[in-house]
């Protein structure tokens, strides 16, 4: 009898006011009026087509990502959530997160989100430094960022996240830490602190800005982590820090290799077949125009993860977490046992990157620093 694998729902809302030069997500600058009603209808149709794949399973978290979901009206979000509740078994204490851009905040709308059932907001602040915000192509300034935090609180959200980035063009160590300090001063329950990287198919990739060198980035990360820890923000994942018990449950499910259903343009799903144990990855068509075309099949691609790639796929996610991983989790999520990974484990132990016993595997402090090397060891060639 298979253990029940937790299931999350991801909803992608693909539009932004304008596309940022570093962003490689499936987001599209808004050139005309937002086709909100059409998109909500398409989402519901998409969900209905997927229902047989998750029949009878409970949803533990919902995440509205983008794009900029806060471009949608409270009514639109409410319509989507109503449709979800009508069709799926939703956990009573479910976490429902919505991503918001500080440049698109208005209090009434946020109160509406709260009423619709959204109970967590993730604010894309990125920096409190106006010069850096400009370089990043953001539509907001530091003033709007601070106001956004205030608005979210007043709208009734006691649980929210601030997204920040570091290793920005021309950023000094002091500036990176100042951004964190500013965030900490506002006491968000959760801080996600990402490193800016140049990804293919972005404007930054084509004309790369000068980024801080490797050693400076290492200093930022080590000192930033310490600063956050000193203020009660515990690092529980590579880039996630939270006050006690304010983890992002939706993301935790990704990292623990749980299942998720993704609806919306370019959304990805990972679903385990309860009978065979096969793990299927599904991607929906990326472009909103295609997604909105009722003639078109929204599934762009689906395949079953090759058994040989499972150790890598699992580790790529699970090792991002600071807590030890248990062989029990590996078995539940992939059907693999410790012995299946023996050669890689031995090599990593020799390099003092991991420690392992019969119950758990733990990254050493060095292993955390060289996580990419550890994960690459599990690639089957």
């Amino acid at each position: 009898m298979q253990a029940i694998i937790p299931l999350s729902l991801y909803i992608h809302l693909p539009w932004c006011v304008s596309k940022c030069p570093y962003c490689d997500f499936n987001s599209h600058g808004l050139k005309q009026a937002l086709p909100e009603a059409d998109y909500v209808a398409a989402l519901i149709q998409d969900l209905e087509q997927d229902l047989p794949k998750i029949w009878g399973r409970r949803i533990d978290s919902i995440f509205f990502g983008g794009g900029t979901p806060s471009l949608f009206s409270a009514e639109g979000i409410d319509a989507i959530l109503c449709a979800v509740r009508a069709r799926l078994n939703v956990a009573p204490s479910i976490e429902i997160t919505l991503e918001a851009n500080p440049g698109t905040i208005e209090q009434q709308r946020f109160a509406g989100y709260r009423q619709a059932g959204v109970n967590r907001i993730s604010l894309g602040i990125q920096s409190f430094n106006d010069a850096h915000l400009k370089t990043l192509g953001r539509i907001h300034g530091s003033k709007e960022a601070l106001l956004a935090i205030e608005t979210v609180r007043q709208a009734g959200f006691d649980n929210f996240n601030c997204d920040l980035m570091h290793a920005l063009p021309q950023q000094s160590l002091a500036q990176a830490l100042a951004d964190l300090q500013q965030a900490i001063a506002n006491k968000p329950p959760h801080i996600s602190w990402y490193q800016l990287t140049l990804e293919p198919n972005t404007r930054f990739y084509q004309t790369p800005p000068t980024l801080p060198n490797e050693d400076l980035v290492a200093d930022m990360q080590l000192q930033g982590r310490e600063l956050l820890a000193n203020h009660g923000y515990q690092q529980y994942e590579v880039s996630a820090y939270s006050q006690p018990n304010k983890y992002c449950r939706h993301n935790l499910n990704y990292w623990k290799f749980g299942d998720y259903l993704g609806i919306g343009a370019g959304a990805h799903s990972k679903l385990t077949c309860p009978n065979t144990g096969d793990i299927r990855r599904i991607a929906k068509v990326r472009h909103p125009k295609e997604y909105l075309n009722p003639e078109k099949n929204v599934i762009q691609k689906q395949d079953i993860i090759d058994k040989a790639q499972l150790p890598f796929e699992f580790m790529l996610n699970a090792l991002r977490l600071k807590q030890s991983l248990t062989w029990q989790l590996l078995k539940e999520r992939t059907g693999l046992v410790k012995q299946d990974l023996a050669p890689s484990l031995n090599k990593l132990k020799q390099l003092s990157l991991i420690e392992a016993n019969d119950v758990t595997m733990t990254l050493t402090p060095r292993g955390h620093l060289f996580l990419d090397d550890v994960v690459a060891e599990f690639i089957s060639t």
């Binding site: 290492a218 990360q221 990704y254 990972k270």
Partner: protein
């Protein structure tokens, strides 16, 4: 059927850039070898590498039919020759199939040293040399000066040299007429037993061994039984033909003619270059004189990065060796790099080309160690040995004397650059033995350590003379020298494949720049990497590649992990191009860091 007196076999002797390829294209076009539409730029250079580098490595041939002024049609066999200093050996092979040669000189640049050397070879082999001035359309051309240079430096009559512009097609019919008039018809007897000289052989995956031959006596026909004289093996001819330049089958090749032979020879050593083909029955008694064996000048170790590739590597070398007699190889094993081959080359360009062909055509990932010349060592016991590998240098106590090879280098250069050349030769430990002003140029002779010449001298010479200086050199003698072995240690462990033999006076400086260069080439790893240079037991320099502080990116990934997966997979593949020595991953280029030292100085 063409009779002997209507055949002309010729080569073109020319320096790189003097327009040989353009001229050959013009000749082919004029004789109708290819239609205008088929005429692709420079048809003769058929290997990719040749095209990219603009040089000719392997001999190729074209048979053309030319209707001369006297109304008769002549069969012209043009045998191409390589143009780089590394390949002068190949030239004499091509020349041995000819009765004449066109000496093509750039009317603006004048005579070049290598052309002189090749021209002497042609004269020694009894060829009729016809001087041709090319590029006379250029405003800076000086035909009178260049004619004087040809007469002064080479010593052949040049006043009736034909003026040609291959680019514009000027003088082509005159040139062809001159060729027919001046180049002697081949001597041979179709009634004698068959003797065909193998000028070149290469391996074709569909046909087996294909050989380019010059028939000296007799007639060779398709479906005849032949014997390869050195191996004594019999084969049946499946295909014979000529290049027009497209390969086209013929019924027979007879005395005086040049063409290709295919005889289902699957064994890659089946038809060695320089060998003689005769008939299985009523064959010739004696083989034709073959070619002088060529000695490699530079040796380097080649090792597959993936040890599983060793057998493929061996096979690839055997195939290359077939039509590259100058390539030498024998198994070598290194503590650091495992099993590979010690390979001998004519020079650095030859080495680069072989390595490139192995990587491109045979899909091998290889590490090449620093190239070295052969040293002569007199042991205290009186015995004399030659070593082609720094790791084979005996312990110092057993050595009475180390001798390094010295070459005589002949350099031709326009007067403006004489100062730069002298400076370069002094830096390379050269001793001047002669200097002459001829025409607009200066002819200089130097004694130089071969070690200095083969590594990067040619490139340096070109760069200090804006490409105008030209070079030819030959081995002269071994001479006692103060040489020491420079060891390289990575994290405290001696890496045999990185050892070098260097002049004692320059050892400190070399050790320093070597470690500095390696520091730039070895990527940062999870731990510090110490790079040390040592002589005897003494460390003379040290550099450290500082450890990476971290290798983890705090990046946001939602449900789509495919990009991260691809990135890590790509990085892992990149690592496979590096060789792990101890715990340290060393990229290919780091093993050749020594070559970079000298380049940096220029």
């Amino acid at each position: 059927m063409t009779t002997l007196d209507h055949i002309r076999n010729f080569s073109i002797i020319a320096h790189i850039d003097h327009g040989k390829s353009t001229l050959s294209d013009r000749l082919i076009q004029y004789c109708g070898g290819l239609s205008d539409r088929e005429m692709e730029e420079q048809v003769l250079d058929s290997m990719d590498i040749e095209r990219e580098r603009g040089i000719t490595i392997k001999a190729q041939s074209v048979t053309l039919n030319y209707k001369a002024n006297d109304g008769d049609t002549y069969q012209l066999n043009f045998i191409d020759t390589p143009g780089h200093v590394d390949f002068s050996y190949e030239v004499s092979r091509s020349l041995s199939a000819c009765e004449g040669a066109l000496l093509v000189v750039d009317a603006a640049q004048g005579v070049e040293a290598q052309t002189v050397a090749v021209c002497y070879t042609a004269i020694e082999q009894g060829l009729e040399v016809i001087p041709v001035l090319n590029k006379i359309d250029l405003p800076q051309s000086e035909p009178e000066r260049v004619i004087n240079e040809i007469e002064d430096i080479i010593g052949i009559e040049a006043h009736d040299a034909i003026h040609v512009s291959a680019k514009q097609g000027v003088g082509i019919p005159e040139l062809l007429d001159m060729l027919v008039t001046k180049v002697p018809a081949p001597v041979g007897d179709v009634n004698e037993p068959l003797q065909a000289l193998i000028i070149d052989s290469w391996f074709d995956s569909y046909l087996g061994v294909v050989s380019l031959v010059r028939v000296k006596h007799g007639v060779l026909k398709a479906r005849e039984k032949i014997k390869i004289m050195s191996t004594g093996k019999f084969h049946e001819v499946t295909k014979i033909g000529i290049f027009t330049p497209k390969a086209s089958d013929t019924d027979a090749l007879k005395a005086g003619e040049v063409g290709f032979v295919v005889a289902s020879i699957k064994d890659i050593d089946g038809a060695p270059v320089g060998d003689t083909i005769t008939h299985a029955k009523h064959g010739a008694e004696e083989a034709l004189p073959g070619f002088q064996k060529v000695e490699p000048k530079v040796y380097a170790g080649l090792f597959p990065i993936d040890s599983d590739d060793y057998e493929d590597f061996r096979e690839a070398l055997a195939k290359l060796k077939l039509n590259d007699a100058a390539l030498f190889y024998e198994p070598e094993s290194s503590e650091a790099l495992g099993f590979g081959f010690r390979c001998g080359f004519l020079g650095m360009l030859h080495m680069e080309i072989v390595q490139e062909r192995l990587e491109r055509e045979y899909n091998l990932a290889l590490i090449t160690t620093a190239p070295t010349v052969v040293y002569e060592i007199e042991l205290t016991k009186g015995e004399i040995i030659h070593i082609d590998n720094p790791t084979k240098l005996p312990p110092v106590v057993n050595i009475k004397e180390i001798r390094e090879p010295i070459v005589i280098a002949n350099i031709l250069v326009p007067q403006d650059y004489v100062g730069n050349i002298i400076k370069l030769c002094v830096e390379k430990r050269g001793v001047q033995i002669n200097m002459l002003y001829v025409g607009g140029q200066v002819s200089m002779s130097y004694e130089l350590p071969m070690n200095e010449v083969v590594l990067d001298f040619f490139d340096r010479l070109k760069s200090v003379s804006r490409g105008y200086a030209s070079l030819d050199y030959h081995f002269d003698r071994f001479q006692a020298a103060k040489l020491v072995k420079l060891d390289v240690l990575i994290n405290g462990e001696k890496v045999d494949a990185l050892a070098l033999i260097v002049d004692r006076d320059y050892a400190m400086q070399r050790g320093r720049s070597l470690t500095e260069n390696m520091k730039e080439l070895i990527p940062r790893q999870m731990f510090d990497v110490a790079i040390q240079a040592a002589i005897g037991g003494q460390i003379i320099s040290r550099q450290t590649v500082k450890a990476l502080r971290k290798n983890v990116t705090a990046k946001c990934y939602g449900g789509d992990v495919s990009r991260k997966r691809k990135l890590l997979e790509k990085q892992k593949k990149g690592k496979k191009r590096m060789k792990q020595v101890g715990r340290v991953e060393i990229p290919q280029e780091a093993f050749l860091a020594v070559l970079k030292i000298d380049k940096d100085k220029s």
